[in-house]
Symmetry: C2
Subunit: 503 residues, 2 copies
């Protein structure tokens, strides 16, 4: 399943333009594939355009990589026009077996003989859907998940008469548009993913029915807990880790008896025979692929941290919890405004940081922009120190950086603690001239310097204006104290190669 | 539930130091709370230390905010020593009712009268657990989820004799250490979260038992699909969106009949009466809190994008799918090495980008470090253009930035398209001197400039060495062509305030 994806098809035919069909259209179009879409509903065009607008918005955020030129969307008025000249067909009409069967049979007659036809059904069996087709070996089921343009999963399931080549082709097409095809071993009502979702959904309906919890509480019980893990690790690998070094057999031995408890309405449970236990243990070992529990724990934690940090941007769910937590920590840790007794005889030390793993680039050390990120945070700490607080910002005044000169002296590696010292080199009522030094805290090793010029602006007008008197008074006090310090060696530098090849 | 968290307790007593008890110890210690832990197992100390090491590692990545000084961990040899001088007690011993009841009764006798005692049980009912306690009103159940130090969810459930003040206190304590307490309306076997997990788990066991799928395939069916959504949005809100503008009633009408289909082993389903439908619709409306489907779709998509981008760092699950996709896009979009017929008479235009929402800082435009991020990518594009490819890097040669001078002329806002032009100002066999200009693509508006000096290094030795001849030949050809260009106005600048207050 980890094969390299090939090129997407040139053109696909879509039958049905609802939430699922429209999602398919968006995914194919954004990946440069032309789409011919048939949906008799006069509202279909509007729905597909709205879905496409959502998808464009999401992809702009998803990646900076150069997307191919968008495919062309053509709305057609018959099944035949949708499928006659395409490389692949996906059907996504409502879940009525007789409608789907008739449509698929018509598509099969009109499409080129080699074209694979997939149905988005999440419940009907491929053996039934292919019954009326002239070439049933070309049909597979490929149910995606909403939103189709973002979620990678698509199950691929063949019926009794589906050929292996059809399953292969369907998986290749899906993989070529950045999906994760999960080819199923055999057909079963609900396939795999929907069976799991449906069991949880039915249990959730009972909880509402019995007034145990509201729909919001049930959603919260997922998204602040197991749901965070499920975004990267299913239940089996999670439980393997919970079993600790003793592994999956230990976990099953410990929690096997609870299968008999009335913890869900699903009380019909498989017998935990030695055969089933052996199967689970063997498959779990294969899944772990030699990774120790410790390695899996670190992988799980890294993913949880990344997911929560990602959600922080939208301040939603666990992201809001993290955001609140960090604000509280910052509030508790930063009294920060200059005090009367502060020692101003040395450069200020107002900011610390740690090199995060994601700061490291292909050279194996922190990317240059991350140095400026840390210097920027040090400048913010300095500005808070001289009294630029939330009230000041709300009143429309702020210092903007206009010029920065960075010197990179040594590399920083993931995990290292850093701190920054800051010296005032000059100021007037609109300008501020700072010199930062970035140190690896262990051993006080100088890693980089940043000389920065700021201008105080009226953020509404977008033009320079003097800073407030109390801010200027603090800067003046600091600047006066810092005149006693030696001028940094790297201050005032210009870049150039003496005697170099060009100039 | 959105109240501001108060201060954590000063000291807590923990009974049991396994996966759950050790996780509680880690969460409390990292939040500055002293912990007294009782576990008769001689291995407990080692296990808790290992858990704590994991948690420290995770918190270092989780936040740059200043954490409080770590609490002190004291291992004690009796229940009484663990609870006698603490503000809160959490019990996490194995799930045997008689053991828990005896321990909780002993803890109740030894703790100060006002102290709240919570059990981590995920299945036993609080009404049963409090049966032998002298002050049963102080007991609640507070089951967390693994890893306890990272996952926010903790359910809070009282028994028949639990006081409302106890539930409030438990929720406050949990909230003070960055958790999300979900206070339940009434006690039920498995509470809410575990009922949902258990239904899914039992279905999963059937799928393995019946050879429909392996444990890895089942995990994949979750983590590439619904699991990504569940990290921020539960099933009810997800389905509300799927119902479209017609809302929750429409969704239920459409999918209600499928409850009768054999899509899971959970075939005992509640009757979808008008009463139940009205309840679901009303609660779903309350949950959506006036947000339109369009707003919810955008929120969902933003969160999905953020989660997938977060997972990309670990190259795991959907993060690996995204990483592969982007690599393929970059490969397809960047033939990039200098061709014989390239137009070298103007600055090169090798890199484009878009301002992402998360680049924007409290001033409402892109943070200064993001400008350097874009310039850094432009430098990388330049280096690929002159032949610094993966093979070159693997052979141990790379250009490192030693100096960067940035001028910020105009702000960049979220969503704007950017591009960079690059001019060679000079080079010798070890050095390279570039000048970048960053433009808002719409209207070709100059936003910032970057003058950069690079040195070619032997990455193994960490010292300067000449670049390879074919790379130098390309740079020489470019440099020769660029001598005809005017020297950029801002090249060679130094920072300073003429006539400023200090110097």
């Amino acid at each position: 399943m980890a094969e390299r994806a090939g090129s997407p098809p040139r053109r696909v035919g879509l039958l049905g333009g609802g939430v699922i069909g429209g999602g398919w259209a968006a995914r194919f179009l954004l990946n440069g594939v032309d789409v011919r879409l048939f949906d008799p509903d006069p509202e279909a065009a509007r729905r597909v355009e709205a879905m496409l607008a959502n998808a464009r918005r999401a992809y702009r955020k998803l990646t900076l990589a150069p997307l191919p030129a968008e495919g062309e969307l053509t709305l057609v008025t018959s099944v035949e026009e949708a499928v006659a000249t395409v490389d692949f067909v996906q059907e996504s009409v409502p879940e009525r077996e007789e409608v789907k069967r008739a449509l698929l049979a018509a598509a099969c007659r009109a499409a080129d003989p080699g074209v694979v036809i997939c149905s988005s059904t999440s419940g009907l069996l491929p053996s039934d859907l292919q019954a009326d087709m002239e070439r049933p070996e070309r049909l597979a089921v490929g149910p995606p998940f909403n939103p189709v343009y973002l979620l990678p999963l698509v199950e691929v399931c063949g019926g009794e008469r589906t050929s292996p080549a059809t399953l292969q082709r369907a998986a290749d097409v899906y993989r070529s548009v950045a999906m994760w095809p999960l080819v199923l071993r055999r057909e079963v009502e609900g396939f795999v993913a929907d069976r799991l979702l449906e069991a949880l959904w039915r249990e959730a309906l009972w909880l509402v029915n019995d007034d145990v919890a509201t729909v919001e509480e049930i959603d919260d019980a997922i998204r602040y807990g197991a749901g965070l893990r499920w975004s990267f690790m299913g239940t089996f690998l999670t439980y393997r880790i919970a079993g600790g070094e003793a592994g999956m057999r230990h976990f099953m031995a410990q929690f096997g008896p609870t299968l008999r408890l009335p913890w869900t309405k699903l009380t019909d449970v498989p017998e935990l025979t030695d055969t089933l236990l052996d199967k689970i243990v063997e498959q779990s070992d294969a899944q772990a692929a030699g990774r120790s529990i410790r390695e899996l724990e670190e992988l799980r934690d890294d993913c949880l941290v990344a997911v929560m940090q990602g959600l922080r941007t939208s301040r939603f769910g666990a992201g809001a919890v993290l955001d609140d937590y960090e604000r509280a920590l910052f509030d508790a840790g930063h009294p920060t405004v200059m005090g009367d007794d502060d020692d101003l005889s040395r450069p200020l030390r107002l900011h610390s940081a740690r090199v995060l793993p994601e700061w490291v680039d292909y050279n194996g050390h922190a990317h240059e922009s991350r140095y400026l990120h840390v210097f920027g945070d040090a400048s913010d700490a300095f500005l808070r120190y001289v009294g630029i607080d939330a009230a000041h910002l709300a009143a429309g005044g702020s210092y903007y950086t206009v010029e920065t000169h960075l010197s990179f002296l040594r590399e920083a590696s993931a995990g290292e603690r850093l701190h920054v010292t800051t010296q005032v080199l000059g100021f007037d009522e609109k300008r501020l001239h700072l010199f930062h030094e970035l140190y690896r805290s262990e051993g006080d090793v100088l890693l980089a310097t940043a000389e920065q010029m700021f201008v105080h602006v009226d953020t509404a007008e977008g033009r320079a204006r003097p800073a407030q008197p109390e801010v200027l008074a603090r800067i003046a006090k600091l600047a006066a104290a810092h005149t006693a310090l030696p001028r940094p060696e790297r201050a005032g530098r210009a870049i150039g190669i003496s005697g170099a090849t060009v100039r």
